[in-house]
């Protein structure tokens, strides 16, 4: 994967770039908004990681300018501003995701992976499949090896998110945002509890484990035969 990182803080950009390269990705670096815009319009990147506060041209203006010129590369905003309004402004400007500093590298990696392979809207299917698991998004039903699994609405959403990101790590924070619309960190085990109930329901009629816990990172739904993420 080819990632463009636009970040003026050397410590952060070195940390992120090193991590991405260790995972086998190609990283381009830009230290100002103008350089970033220039490199981004050149294209060829799978994901842009953009700091909100940049010298020359701030992150929001940069992404707006990019979107106006028709560049649709997914954008992950990095920011030290964690306010509600900041996130909304970032997403309205054309950002696709938002990560507040300080962050764990695993969180960044998971979000970059999710963005890079996010299917375009038009291609969204009405049936999701992962191994012997099948989810009908219109009928809101889930079957495993042909046997219907009865899920509560929240469990259904949780499984849908995991299946859309099959074989990719999703973090606890990503799940909280996507499934519960919680943009804060609950001090209790909401995700863990729901996850264990979902696992139990999926395993009720036999079949192997589908959802794995990745220590220190999050969860992954593995499809049999796929490379481990």
């Amino acid at each position: 994967m080819k990632v463009l990182l636009i970040e003026d803080d050397h410590e952060t950009s070195a940390y992120v770039a090193r991590g991405l390269r260790e995972h086998g990705h190609v990283v381009d670096l830009a230290e100002s908004g103008r350089d970033g815009l220039f490199l981004a319009t050149g294209g060829g990147h799978d994901v842009l990681i953009v700091d909100r506060m940049l010298p020359g041209l701030d992150g929001i203006a940069l992404v707006q300018a990019l979107r106006e010129t028709g560049v649709k590369t997914p954008v992950l905003f990095l920011t030290a501003l964690g306010g509600v309004g900041d996130r909304v402004r970032g997403l309205e400007a054309g950002g696709d995701d938002y990560l507040v500093k300080p962050f764990a590298f695993a969180e960044l990696m998971a979000r970059v992976n999710a963005l890079a392979r996010r299917p375009p809207l038009a291609e969204r299917q009405t049936v999701l499949r992962a191994g012997d698991l099948e989810m009908d998004l219109l009928k809101r039903t889930v079957t495993r090896a042909g046997v219907e699994v009865d899920l509560l609405p929240r469990e259904f959403q949780l499984l849908e998110f995991l299946m859309r990101n099959a074989d990719r790590i999703v973090t606890r924070t990503m799940l909280l945002e996507a499934v519960w619309d919680f943009h804060f960190d609950p001090k209790t085990n909401i995700v863990e509890t729901h996850m264990s109930r979902l696992r139990a329901k999926l395993a009720r009629n036999g079949g192997g484990e589908l959802i794995y816990t990745v220590r220190g990172a999050g969860y992954v739904l593995r499809t049999p035969g796929a490379e481990s993420a």
Binding site: G82, G83, V84, R154, D181, F182, H183, K187, T188, T193
Partner: protein, 455 residues
């Protein structure tokens, strides 16, 4: 601040208003005076002309009836009165026969002005008379004149009266304006002095008020109100700085100690790993505390209603209960909900969700297993009440009023994880939404409620 008083006096609003008022008053009085003056003069002249005309007609009649000798006698008799007119009877050769008006000027018939020399009156100055000249038979002339001095005197009297009225009125106006301005200036100076004292550090000073409720008093009261509010905010800011310094010292010290220990005693890779994990956990806790503080500051600093949308409060409450129910069940709690449907308010959905989540989390964390927790949403869209109630052990009586303070943790929860900022955030969110957060002892248990009032 206090330059020479006089020029400052002239610049005050009250003085300028007074001066303007005096000028307008004087102007209108002048217009009135001129009008009266002109009217009076015209009336007097008309009156005099009428008197002269009738006198001339009468004398002409006497002349026709009785002849010249009789006329001369009548004129001489009439000229002696105190308020008499001036006369002249002249024969065809221009010889003076009777009256004070000198003869021999070749007067033609009609209205004219004649100077009459005076022997004694007015220091011998000639007086001007307005005269009507009439031709008698065979070249003789009769003239009847009225003294213009009377009219002049009256005109002078009118002018004097106006000068005497406008002068003192203007003087009084100016003096009054200056006086008012002095009072005004004194009060403005008092406010300035207070502000100067506050700028130089005496924050407890307040602008003096008189209790009269006039505009300056209202301004002073508003200033004082503003100063009180700023004082409260500064106090809370100072409190926060102290709290932050105090409460962040402990985890920072622990972090430092763990790193020191790892450096001094770590031997195996596993021991290093354990030390790093412990240090990381401390750092995470610190970051959590910082982001909680930042969030409280953002909420407290947010302008009310900015970014507010219509929020389905019932849906928010349902979502939070739904999210925490499995968790509560795992922990042996009973989480029930009694949520009135369709309650909508204007607000920030994310913050409201977080506020309710914090309250539910508090109840989950600070009560033993088996505790019943009820989330309740009652009332209408205009005045909903959102509450979380438990039948747990409640809080120590002394803790109740202090629970919303930053970093404050009740005696019974000192040992459980948490940073003591949860209720502070709820309180800030409540204030942003114009809601009142109240904590009530239920004996047993605690009821925390958000009473929202929107118009």
């Amino acid at each position: 601040m206090s330059g020479p008083v006089f020029p400052r006096l002239l610049r005050t609003t009250s003085f300028r208003l007074a001066a303007l008022y005096v000028a307008v008053f004087a102007g209108s009085a002048l217009v009135l005076g001129v009008a009266i003056f002109l009217q009076a003069r015209a009336a007097l002249q008309e009156q005099m002309d009428a008197r002269i005309e009738s006198e001339a007609a009468f004398l002409q009649g006497e002349f026709r009836k009785e002849g010249r000798e009789h006329l001369v006698a009548v004129v001489q008799a009439r000229g002696k009165g105190a308020n008499a007119l001036d006369y002249l009877v002249e024969d065809a050769e221009g010889r003076h026969l009777a009256g004070e008006i000198p003869a021999g000027r070749g007067l033609g018939p009609g209205w004219t002005r004649i100077d009459v020399p005076q022997a004694t009156e007015d220091g011998g100055r000639p007086e001007t008379v307005r005269a009507l000249v009439v031709d008698l038979d065979n070249g003789a002339v009769l003239a009847v004149g009225g003294d213009l001095q009377q009219i002049d005197d009256l005109e002078e009297a009118i002018v004097k009266a106006f000068v005497w009225t406008i002068g003192p009125a203007a003087a009084l106006g100016i003096i009054g304006g200056a006086g008012l301005s002095r009072v005004f200036l004194a009060r403005v100076d008092a406010i300035s002095r207070t502000v100067e004292a506050i700028i130089s550090g005496d924050l407890a000073r307040r602008v003096p008020t008189r209790g009269t409720g006039d505009d300056l008093d209202r301004l002073a009261a508003m200033l004082n109100h503003m100063l009180d509010r700023i004082a409260v905010l500064m106090g809370s800011l100072r409190q926060v700085s102290t709290d932050v310094a105090h409460d962040l010292r402990t985890p920072l010290t622990r972090l430092y100690q763990r790193l020191e220990e790892a450096r001094a005693e770590g031997r195996s890779a596993a021991e290093y790993e354990a030390a790093i994990d412990a240090a990381r956990a401390e750092a995470e806790g610190l970051l959590d505390t910082f982001s909680a503080l930042l969030r409280i500051a953002q909420v407290e600093g947010a302008s009310p209603h900015a970014g507010f949308r219509e929020v389905d409060l019932s849906a928010v409450a349902e979502a939070v209960c739904d999210a925490y129910r499995p968790d509560a069940e795992e922990a042996g709690h009973v989480l029930t909900a009694a949520i009135a449907p369709g309650v909508r308010i204007r607000g920030d959905q994310e913050l409201l969700t977080q506020a309710l989540a914090n309250l539910v989390e508090n109840a989950l964390r600070h009560t033993p297993p088996g505790t019943r927790i009820q989330v309740r949403l009652e009332g209408s869209s205009g005045h909903p009440v959102l509450s979380v109630e438990d039948d747990g052990p409640g809080v120590a009586p002394g803790d109740l009023p202090r629970l919303t303070e930053r970093f404050y943790r009740g005696e019974r929860s000192r040992t459980s994880p948490g940073n003591g900022l949860g209720l502070s955030l709820v309180n800030a969110i409540a204030e942003l939404h114009g809601a009142e957060l109240s904590l009530n002892e239920m004996k047993p248990g605690l009821r925390v409620s958000l009473s929202i009032r929107q118009d």
